[in-house]
Symmetry: D3
Subunit: 162 residues, 6 copies
């Protein structure tokens, strides 16, 4: 078994290549990704104070918008991703314990290829934006874990067992 | 103490704002960020087979290039980042134990503002690209512990205690 | 009645969100927007001299091209716009009285969502480009009015009563 | 007097051209531009309800961020603009009478060329974003009077007499 | 016969314009373009040494990735090109005699308009990237010939007689 | 002698890397590149008819603008190019014999790194744009001899012996 046979983004000569999706039928596809950002309790308190009572605060909203805009640009950032329209992209941010926030990005398309990378890119850019807005307070912020939670609509569905 | 006073990306009215760097003097600034991608032992074996003997394999190289190109576009992705040139951007990827790889991105600028976000964005886009190239093999890949390792050249240096 | 229920770009929690167009059927949609730029009579005379006899002059053509290219990038500029292909985009510029020009941008798509924003963005970028090319002559140029003239092909047609 | 001699963006042959700024010395330059968006009293009431008590509401914030991000991309949109870094970009949005909002965008650079176009582009993209977020409520929103208010730091200062 | 009638990118007034593809039916379209880069025998030897035994070397791979990413951005670069998704984009690079390399870019879409420009842009950006990576060794590198080799799926097929 | 030692865009491990320009002093740098587009005599006649009497025709102007805008985006297209501002970018297009046009692109910067790639990218994008605007008339258009003509201001000047 050659690596090229399994790593779909390599061609027979082992060179990087896109996957040809020309013969696939478009279907409704949804992917959900999550990113957890550990801010520490002090920053978390500040962010909550400004952001959470109304859930309309500027740190979260800036991150939500950055995540949506980042998801739309996935194919510019990830070299072998197909350019595709999005039916929808939604980013939510919730506190997760005393020192962290949980970002979820849901990307939806009616297309020939999945939107895992759009969901993961949206969550990552939202996480980086939270980092940027809080970094004057600490250099120990950590984007602890970014992963796929679920995908549906392709050949194989996937559901992460939490 | 108001949150706006401490969260530098909010102005006095609590609205999102850039930080004015007009009065700063340009200095040589370097930031190093890291991201860890847990691929699992099976994918790791495949990637190593193709990539590691020569360290010129296509998965790592694609990720290195994507990381460098991503770092150059940081100010397009992160809403309140300043646009700035880069003197240099370097991405390295090494295996880290039997199932993971470690990405390091070093960004360098002679400028008025730090390049933490460039380093973090470069590491993140490289990590997302590895994910993309391996995702046909597993949906359980996880991007872990994206964080700043060090920064020098600004008002305060920082060194992460590993 | 909550504002979120009426402002379609806010979700139930009042956070910014795209509108899910996944269940809509694609249809042929056309939107026309207009922008009026008041240049003042002196600049207008210069522009006309160079541009109007042939209608191929460089100020208008540069603005036409900038408008078309700007319309193609609408979803990058407007945070909650859907990325979409365009079947066509046309920009025309005509003198309007002794001191102004009228820009019209017509955007056409076969898609699930309207192209008002593409037409308005195309007209706006064309207007800004005229401004840029003439600004060495005056700082009193005004983009006086940018508005939608008509849209067809969606749930509700619209026609501005001139 | 030929038009090319006065329209700085045309060369001797009447072709579009950038202005060579190579021999200029960098200086601190600030430009302020304004755009007015007439929403009508009903939308204005809705927007105020959600946005104004705290001035952190999602419509204004989304527009502020879009304006800042748009200003950063001015040289991609306006064909003959120089690419340049920004020291700062600030967008504010205030109600202006019962049916309109006033957007102000202040762009600052230490550079060889002015930032009028950055300020005007930022104000325009913020205005278009407000349009986008309110357009489900009315097709009669109008973007009015986009203009330069002041510029300093270049060869000639300018101050609009309000 | 007016030029406007034949040059499809000019409208009746001789102004630049997109071609309206709204009434076309989507079909599977493939275009292949080729670019030949003359490096000279010395650089060619170096590149071959590092790149060719494994065909995974960094110069070729970097160029392949740049070509694919460039093809995806064709509609941003070429003013009157339609934005469109790509089903696939493949770039190959082979030595061609003792002093040159041959780049082929194959672009595929299911759409209303051809992908010649995507294939030509991909080949050109790959060629420019090879130039960039080798330019420290010589200023006499030449991108000798870029042309279309074939196109299928549109109104008229085309096959270059080699 | 290892290839990495000579190919400046590879690091010691043979991986792609930017060149660190941090220790260089900014200087005024100019690069001129050329591209020749063979249109064939029939297209050439059409283009001349519309474009050449005034040299303001739409094919040439569109290509000039696309070339300038393309040069500004060089660092987005060429993976290891440094992002940099441009003091100036000029594109000219002249007929060259009965069937071809000659494009020249001059890029100028005050910076730490040369602008050869900006000049070559500007010439290439202008050439591709001419191709795009004429391609409905022939599939046998060829972009020939894209090369550097001169560079000054860096460590070594270069002048092509025509």
């Amino acid at each position: 078994m050659s690596d090229s046979a399994k790593l779909t983004h390599l061609d027979a000569a082992g060179q990087p290549a896109m996957v040809d999706v020309g013969s696939k039928m478009p279907s409704r596809r949804v992917a959900v990704a999550r990113s957890r950002v550990v801010l520490g309790p002090e920053i978390m308190a500040l962010v909550k104070e400004g952001d959470l009572p109304t859930r309309k605060g500027p740190v979260f909203q800036t991150a939500i918008l950055a995540g949506i805009m980042g998801a739309k640009r996935t194919s510019e950032l990830i070299p072998l991703c197909h350019p595709l329209g999005l039916d929808n992209c939604r980013v939510t941010i919730e506190p997760d314990g005393p020192d962290a926030v949980l970002i979820e990005c849901t990307a939806t398309v009616t297309g020939k290829t999945g939107v895992e990378m759009e969901a993961l890119t949206g969550a990552s850019v939202a996480a980086l934006t939270i980092y940027d807005m809080c970094k004057a307070l600490s250099h120990d912020i950590v984007i602890q874990e970014t992963r796929l939670l679920s995908k549906t609509g392709g050949k194989n569905d996937f559901q992460h067992e939490a």
